[in-house]
Amino acid sequence: MKRFFTLLLAAAAFTGALAKEVTLLNVSYDPTRELYNAVNKAFSEQWKTKTGDTVTVRQSPGGSGRQARAVIDGLDADVVTLALAYDIDAIAERSRQVPKDWQKRLPENSTPYTSAIVFLVRKGNPKGIKDWGDLVRPGVAVITPDPKTSGGARWNYLAAWGCALHQPGGTPASAKDFLAKLFKNVAIRDTGARGATTTFVQREIGDVLIAWENEAILALKELGEGKFEVVAPSESILAEPPVAVVDKVTKKRGTTEVAKAYLDFLYTDAGQEIVAKNHYRPRNAAVAARFAADFPKLKLFTIDEVFGGWAKAHKEHFADGGTYDQIQAPRP
């Protein structure tokens, strides 16, 4: 018996001696802090149980476009979890740190969760905002971040464009005119979605915040209980925030295995549960069904359906000289 315990202790000591400490950097977009706080904790525990290694995941939230530029400029991200595929495409093209076919490496085009664009208004909806058309009324102050720096803002912009296009008689010209009027009502353009939420919720500026659904629900539940309402417009866009391992960095740092496992974890039942609890729409049908009551019913269109994909949408709308530049009144 004594010998058995000795061997057990020796084995434990040996295992402990082999255990590693691994650090990952997840470069993400603004409103994902709470989601990835929960994911990081759960994954670290799971990985520790599975391998004995201790994983610490650091986060670096910021506007999605800015984050992509930081990675291109040399920020050593092991994984990127950004707001839109275009930003990871930019990393692939400009710095070649991820392969061009990165989106095929994980299920659902490497988007383990989705979201939508909704409105957050003040309690009682004093300006009577119900749909996109209400945002261009005189006297309505709109808060949305700057599409030049924020992935969320691009989804907002495209959601508004698509809905304008779907109006009876809607054309690209009428959609452009609608966006021009809408941005005349924008009081402040923050660089990221979380900043815009701060502007609307904490600084009490504006009548309506165009926001990620997850961010609007979060604000409703945790930042201003009883002070806000979520308004689901008649139509919105299906926002698909993608994730990818940054191969060149993980190879250099020897973290490829754990980085892949980290993103795979998002697709597991446990990961999908965390996704839903943080107000993102899970891909897993069973988990989505369990949380269906938490999400408003929305008629959603995809970026591929209306804009022909991110590359085309970026070129037409957000590249220098695109429609966003064209509709600019002098910036407020």
């Binding site: 009081a187 402040i188 660089t191 502007t199 600084r203 009490e204 500026i205 002098p330 407020p332």
Partner: protein
């Protein structure tokens, strides 16, 4: 009552609109404009609120209160917008400051560095204007009193990708021009890869790690001219070395391979042989972190080189020795090498040098000392060939004291109170004394050097005064007296008395 308010509101709206269009390109200007506007609007809101609450007579119209409330709410929103814009402008300014390159200028030179300090470029340099006087050269000395630019050295140095340092230093001093044959024009040109403090690799042209005083910057010398040991060790050479600090910086090492240069010489290319010199140095400062002032500044070590060198008819790979006044006091025979009268002496074979060395700094007091033995095989060509291994030695001890109390150092010393005209500060005053000796191997004479024109030994003693006006400006006055052994030339007979002065700027 309502009309002026409408006018006020319209005026405010117009002024706000103009504020909104203020360019965000200049965050500080934007912040200032926003702050001013916020203050004005806050005053207006308070005034409106006061007006509303104090308007007792006549009674307001039924719809006046809602109108006022709407106006106030609108103004409050605008104030909040301005507040938030101010906040965002501050954040943007902070972000810009965090990531923007930094340009600095100061006593240490001019510097441009990236916000993360991984990329740095510095413009530095120093220049020395000297005057040399020989009070009794009428006794027979051959050198004139003169002014000259001793060193004019711009320095460009920096860091790339955090770990790679580079340095380029040229010299535009008197008599030095850029040419293929000039080994002095490019003084330093090297890259240092600092992989770890313990392991660094340096490649290019730089000082071989041998002589203590040679390794001291020309801008930080105690005396205007270096002492004799420097003339028996290499100056700058092309090669590479591995270097680093061990034991938390208490032990410093360098080991390198170089083309090989003559004693006191510099080289840009090895044109005379395939052989290379190995140079190494170990220097300890075991008490550098001690609280004990008496031992903290002690450093000691040993350095040496070994290799083979060959000279030829046009490049002997041997150099002359000079006095503190820079007069030639020793040189090997040189000529066509066809007969005894025109014998030519060149390096041919093994050369090794060993140099124990030390310094010790205790408060304002400092002392440095070094000894060098240089052993070199030479060849005499005079139709026939004869060989000899000649062993020359040199040593020096130099001490100094800061009268103004500054802590003495092997490196630059900053005065406690820099000199200012009309101010209290007079800078730092340092007095110094030195004795130095050169001894030429007896076997050198008469075959390899002419005893009539070359000294067999030289002993110099000197005293000096250095006035460090501030960190950048220094004035020096030295008196050096030299006694020379052997020979029959006026210089050798009478020795040398030299008064040397220097005005130096370094940054």
């Amino acid at each position: 009552m309502n009309i002026p308010r409408w006018l006020a509101a319209a005026t405010l709206s117009a002024s706000l609109a103009s504020t909104f269009t203020t360019s965000a390109d200049d965050p500080s200007a934007t912040i200032a404009a926003l702050l001013k506007r916020i203050g004005q609007l806050e005053e207006k809101v308070v005034a409106l609120e006061n007006n509303r609450s104090s308007a007792a007579s006549p009674a307001p119209a039924a719809d006046a209160a809602p109108v006022d409330a709407a106006r106030i709410a609108s103004l409050e929103q605008q104030v909040k917008v301005l507040d938030r814009k101010n906040e965002l402008a501050n954040e943007a300014a902070a972000e810009k400051a965090r990531t923007a390159p930094v340009l600095t200028a100061g006593p240490g030179g001019f510097q441009l560095r990236s916000a993360d300090t991984n990329f740095v470029i510095k413009l530095r340099g120093y220049a020395q204007a000297d005057a040399r006087f020989f009070p009794d050269d009428n006794v027979g000395g051959t050198v004139n009193d003169q002014f000259l630019m001793r060193r004019v050295r711009p320095i460009l140095e920096g860091t790339l990708y955090e770990k790679y340092d580079f340095r380029i230093m040229t010299d535009f001093a008197s008599g030095i021009t850029s040419s293929a044959a000039n080994n002095g024009f490019l003084q330093d040109g090297y890259l240092t890869a600092r992989f770890y403090p313990e392991f660094q690799v340096q490649a290019g042209k730089f000082k071989e790690p041998v002589g203590l005083e040679r390794l001291q910057s020309g801008a930080n010398l105690l005396f205007i001219e270096r002492a004799y040991p420097t003339q028996l060790v290499p100056n700058r050479d092309v090669g590479f070395q591995v270097q680093g600090d061990l034991a938390a910086g208490r032990l410093n090492y360098q080991v390198g391979a170089f083309n090989g240069v003559a004693n006191g010489g510099s080289g840009d290319a090895d044109t005379t042989d395939d052989d290379k010199d190995i140079a190494a140095r170990l220097f300890a400062t075991p008490f550098k972190d001690s609280d004990n002032d008496w031992i903290r500044g002690l450093g000691f070590g040993v350095a040496g080189t070994i290799g083979d060198q060959e000279g030829n008819a046009t490049a002997s790979n041997l150099r002359t020795a000079v006095s503190p006044g820079q007069q030639r006091l020793f040189g090997y025979r040189s000529g066509a090498g066809t007969n005894a009268a025109t014998a030519n002496v060149v390096a041919d074979g093994r050369i090794w040098r060993v140099s124990p060395q030390f310094y010790h700094y205790i408060g304002p007091f400092g002392i440095i000392g070094e000894f060098v033995v240089s052993n070199q095989q030479v060849r005499r060509d005079d139709g026939a060939k004869s060989f000899a291994k000649l062993e020359n030695t040199a040593w020096q001890v130099a001490a100094s004291w800061f009268l103004t109390g500054e802590d003495n150092s092997f490196k630059a010393v900053a005065p406690r109170k820099p000199f200012t005209i009309g101010g209290e500060g007079w800078g730092a005053f340092e007095v110094a004394a030195r004795i130095s000796q050169l001894d030429i191997d007896d076997a050198t004479f008469p075959l390899y050097a002419n005893a009539a024109s070359s000294a067999t030994s030289a002993t110099s003693w000197g005293v000096g005064l250095n006035w460090h006006l501030d960190k950048n400006i220094k004035a020096s006055l030295d008196y050096e007296q030299t006694d020379l052994g052997g020979g029959s030339s006026p210089l050798l007979d009478n020795g040398e008395k030299a008064v040397l002065t220097r005005a130096q700027v370094s940054f």
